[in-house]
């Protein structure tokens, strides 16, 4: 169990680093790289939990590896907080506010969106009476 979480966490963190390198943030600018990482990770956790809800017989390591490990390691709260702090202390409080609030809202919508997407896609295979979410 812990090994699956550790392996997943390493995979997720490396993926986060690749996005950070592809989308570097200039000082004072909106941190789009971390925003994208956190929002896409939330879309995927919403989708994953919906899939697991539709498949009660899934392998017991799927959630520790993909959910706790990969997506938990991919998304980050510490970088989000440090970037917001840096925006405030460097004289960009409005960008910090937009980043703080924008990530919270987009991330919540992404969780819901991911779940809705999976339920829509799965609908042809699951009659409503069979849904166990």
């Amino acid at each position: 169990m812990l090994a699956a979480i550790a392996a997943g966490g390493a995979v997720g963190a490396l993926a986060r680093q690749l996005v950070a390198e592809a989308l570097p943030t200039a000082p004072g600018a909106f941190p789009w790289g971390t925003f994208l990482v956190n929002v896409s990770g939330c879309l995927l956790i919403g989708a994953l939990m919906a899939v697991l809800g539709l498949l009660p017989a899934h392998h017991r390591l799927v959630r520790p590896f993909l959910g706790v490990g990969v997506l938990g390691g991919f998304t980050t709260f510490s970088t989000y907080a440090v970037q917001s702090h840096a925006l405030v202390t460097s004289g960009h409080p409005l960008v910090a506010l937009a980043y703080l609030g924008g990530t919270v809202l987009a991330a919540l919508l992404a969780v819901v969106g991911g779940a809705i997407l999976v339920r829509r896609l799965a609908a042809p295979w699951h009659r409503p009476g069979e849904l166990r979410v």
Binding site: A13, C42, V68, L71, T76, H85, V111
Partner: protein
Amino acid sequence: MTLLMIALGAAVGAPARYLTDRAVQSRHESVMPWGTLSVNVIGSLILGALTGAGAAVSPGVVALIGTGFCGALTTYSTFSFETWRLVEEECYAAAVANVMVSVAAALAAVAIGYAASSALTG
């Protein structure tokens, strides 16, 4: 080399998040996800301290402890998912409180860590 340090740090950070969450969640009965809040605040404190130390910390340590360990110890996906679960369960006040307390406490932790380590490393 940087990627190896990140992977190593994350391989410790992610299980540490799981174990901390389990330990914290087993010690209270409220609907608030205190476990995730704890790891997010602790990780923010450490990353704030690391950032405040500036050039006194080598890039390898930043990759290992910052990007790897702190990045994997903290999580946005679980934070959002648990907040959404509170909304679904109609615990609206708890959902709002979880967002407000998480963001405020993490920012305060960064500020404290940053100030302390930049004072120490001069």
